[in-house]
């Protein structure tokens, strides 16, 4: 029983160490938190759909080290992100910046919503007209009267 407990403890302690492994975390928690926040915004260019926090690719490890160095050197978040985009372009940012080249990307959903809204609006407006059956011709009227037993 004791052995089992020790074994379990060891398993969990190893796990704890394996989460977000980085040899050189910053000693001041506030600085480390700021560095982590910046890293979360940066795309790992090797694995592409992960941020550099989540990636173990060599380049991501290097970029993490650079972010920490720059945080330690007192650079602002903006300066660090600028450092990255000047080398790797806007593409390194997981959240693309709002500018003319990305106008369609950002406004596209709103545009589609407006188009969809317009079509729905038109459809609703038009419906009553369309729902009305064409008027009966005299022959049909006669038949209807007959069916309803409305003859005098």
């Amino acid at each position: 029983m004791r052995l089992l407990l020790i074994g379990l403890f060891m398993m969990f302690s190893l796990n704890a160490a394996a989460i977000g492994v980085d040899e050189d975390r910053l000693s001041i928690p506030a600085q480390e938190a700021r560095a982590q926040n910046i890293m979360k915004q940066l795309r790992c260019l090797v694995c592409q759909n992960q941020s550099i926090v989540e990636s173990d690719a060599g380049l991501a490890v290097d970029l993490r080290a650079i972010v920490r160095e720059q945080v330690l050197a007192g650079q602002s978040d903006e300066q660090i992100l600028d450092f990255m985009t000047s080398r790797y372009g806007d593409w390194i940012l997981l959240k693309p910046p709002f500018k003319t080249a990305t106008l369609l990307l950002w406004l596209g959903p709103i545009l589609l919503l407006l188009i969809g809204g317009f079509l729905v609006f038109r459809y609703i407006r038009q419906k009553p007209e369309k729902a009305m059956p064409p008027p009966l011709n005299p022959e049909e009227k006669e038949r209807l009267k007959h069916i309803m037993g409305d003859e005098e």
Binding site: Q48, G58, L59, D62, R87, Y88
Partner: protein, 180 residues
Amino acid sequence: MSVKRFIPLFVFAGIFVAFMIGLTLNPREVPSALINKAPPEFSLPPLEGAGIGLSNNDLMDKENIIIVNFFASWCGPCRVEHPALEQLGKIPGVKLYGIAYKDRPKNSLSFLKSLGNPYSKIGADLKGRAAINWGVTGTPETFILKDGIIRYQHIGPIHDIQMTDNILPTLRQLAKENGS
């Protein structure tokens, strides 16, 4: 009324074309931020001995078109593109420089010894920091410079088809600019 009926078809055609283009793009090709810009400041040690192996000064060549190739002995695709580099190194008016990316100099040297050394100068980027300043995401990666300005970036190994379709035409075009 009859045009309206074809609207879904037009929408479908539009989406179809967009996907045809979008899905055949190579996601590895990260759009370069350094095209038409000067390369970053760097100064790298040589593979052997002390001093400077490669630095900005080497790129300010007015006579030659410069090709800078990031490579590593541990990188498989670098072996694939090695014949292409040998070919590029022999073109008159072109200088080929190498930067060994995160590689032990000893290993880089034996790599070049077994395959041949196409580079006229080599710098050792031991920690990969120079590569990050160049916006390199991995080896191999190749830059073409003229008058100290980066004009073209090739990501991944240079296959024969890219040599004839991209690299050589770019070199020819840049050489033409020289004349004017």
